[in-house]
Symmetry: C2
Amino acid sequence: MKLNIAILPGDGIGPEVTAQAVKVLKAIAMEFNHIFTFTTGLVGSAAIDKTENPLPQETIDLCKKADAVLFGAIGDPKYDNNPDAKIRPEQGLLGIRKELGLYTNIRPVIAYEDILNKSSLKIKQIKDTNILIYRELTGGIYFGERFLSEDGNTASDVCEYNRLEIERITHLAFKAAQSRKNKLTLVDKANVLESSKLWRRVVQEIALQYPNVKVNYMYIDNAAMELIINPRQFDVILTENMFGDILSEEASVIVGSIGLLASASTGDKHAMFEPIHGAFTKAANKGIANPIASILSAAMLLDHFGLDEEANRIREGVDKSLKLHITTPDLNTKYDNISTTKVGDFIEDFINNPDETNLN
Amino acid sequence: MKLNIAILPGDGIGPEVTAQAVKVLKAIAMEFNHIFTFTTGLVGSAAIDKTENPLPQETIDLCKKADAVLFGAIGDPKYDNNPDAKIRPEQGLLGIRKELGLYTNIRPVIAYEDILNKSSLKIKQIKDTNILIYRELTGGIYFGERFLSEDGNTASDVCEYNRLEIERITHLAFKAAQSRKNKLTLVDKANVLESSKLWRRVVQEIALQYPNVKVNYMYIDNAAMELIINPRQFDVILTENMFGDILSEEASVIVGSIGLLASASTGDKHAMFEPIHGAFTKAANKGIANPIASILSAAMLLDHFGLDEEANRIREGVDKSLKLHITTPDLNTKYDNISTTKVGDFIEDFINNPDETNLN
Ligand SMILES: CC(C)[C@H](C(=O)O)[C@@H](O)C(=O)O
Ligand SMILES: CC(C)[C@H](C(=O)O)[C@@H](O)C(=O)O
């Protein structure tokens, strides 16, 4: 298969972790006789520095022409404490999601057997957890009207949804549930919000078309608790943009490190793959950033094109790295100095020689 | 002291747990020579059933005349799966918060030494956690304009804040931090939301008046993770209405049961005290509801009137009940049949005879 992949490394640790994912994809291409070409584009703070635009038109064009986008991370502390900044790196990420029409964000949450003890949660609590979060990605309060009064003393944001926006991701989430444990939980705040009521109404209607899927409805405050006290109750979680943002980052505590969570963002025409972690600027250029979220995002990219064997090869490599403690310091209590690159190298080696790779 | 207390038991387990809190307050009045009078009012589903109004005018009047309100719980499953219901129990709670101007909701999160092992989190993770959440309670998306298109296919909610709303609670949160560990964390989503930017701007300005308080800024998604992986980093958390709703329920996992979390809601003229848990209708009338959140809310009521010794007596009683495993089943792995009433009785006895109360 020929794939033209746009690489947007972005900010902070983005470039380092993305480099490992690219390395792994190259190994896959070699090993399985594919032709993957990579073209890099600017986004985020890196793009602002060079072009004063967090999402240059060139980058949009690049992504639209590509078969898929691999995204690094976004954000920069220099903007975080400056609420007056008119231009912000995050606009690059939100802009690309909107431009590419990536309305479905899929975030798997898996308690890996070999690192159960890395979680803040008790092992018995998280064992066998396997959740797929379907987060709506181009609607809601992220993209509603914003308002700031002239005197700067009143500000507002609108959370808006329409039926179509809810329907399209809901069908995908139900289909995913059908290929899993036939359970779907809608998370909303329908006891207060009009937009949540619409979500609940639409999901109730669509549920009738998937009679074998058991549907639960949960308020976001309750879900934030249940995710920790009983994560195994969840199979597919479906939710709107902001609740999905919160729940998925929270869910990283089950996995043990946010450095392990990958995601796929898909629309009708385009697809982008990105770690759920941020730019983590403090850790940049130290060789300590965990590349696994990015590498697993590359595996989701392969899944997207039906390259199952290839994607699984990557996942086996990741599993093996976890088993052998070839991991960055966020997860490692056994070895001291395993760097971002070293983890990438190990998984690359595994792809080339799945039966022989071992600690060296 | 003479206190005229309005009791709004509400729905589900509300009446049972509130009855225990009233029992405890009566014991305090006896023991410390106060005169507490209690008047009960209708709210929530209970009020809808009798008056078709989740918040009858009579209840509002009762609360406005009272020195303080003790609130039970609200919600009813018969409304939860009916997004079309025009009248909902929650309107009773939101209405009373608004009518009484209760803009500050204070939710303590304490990892009680005697039940550390009840948490889903590892003991070393939560030990010594003591957080005070300041949740803004009468603004934001809870009270913004709502919209549903005529065809029912588009719905929206507005999250709006103005400077005054942010300032008044921010000063209170800073003062609380000064009486504690001098640390305040503002939780927002200022990388995306205009209203969050206003929060960040106002808090940055006010921070200058409290130079001894160390201020941190955290995005809500990140906070939902940090609350679990490193809860001890927090002292006072300040946040807007919905983020406070989510974080405080999530924080219950640190404590081990949502049945332990109390809160105070205060304004310029009125004050209300309520458990953060909901109506938990499935558990109603079985004698298994944990009354401690309600009893600790009564202690916060006494704090509010400067009755420190009285409030502490209640807290000592609660601590002793936890130490001796006189707890409802949500916490109890030692004894089988300790009911809601039995827990209330134990704490009542303790108030009367603090030195003698023991398991009997
Ligand atoms: C960087 C930020 C705008 C983004 C979001 O909130 O969507 C991030 O947190 C994510 O989850 O992808
Ligand atoms: C019942 C509900 C409307 C309420 C809220 O969301 O504020 C509750 O969850 C709370 O936290 O007090």
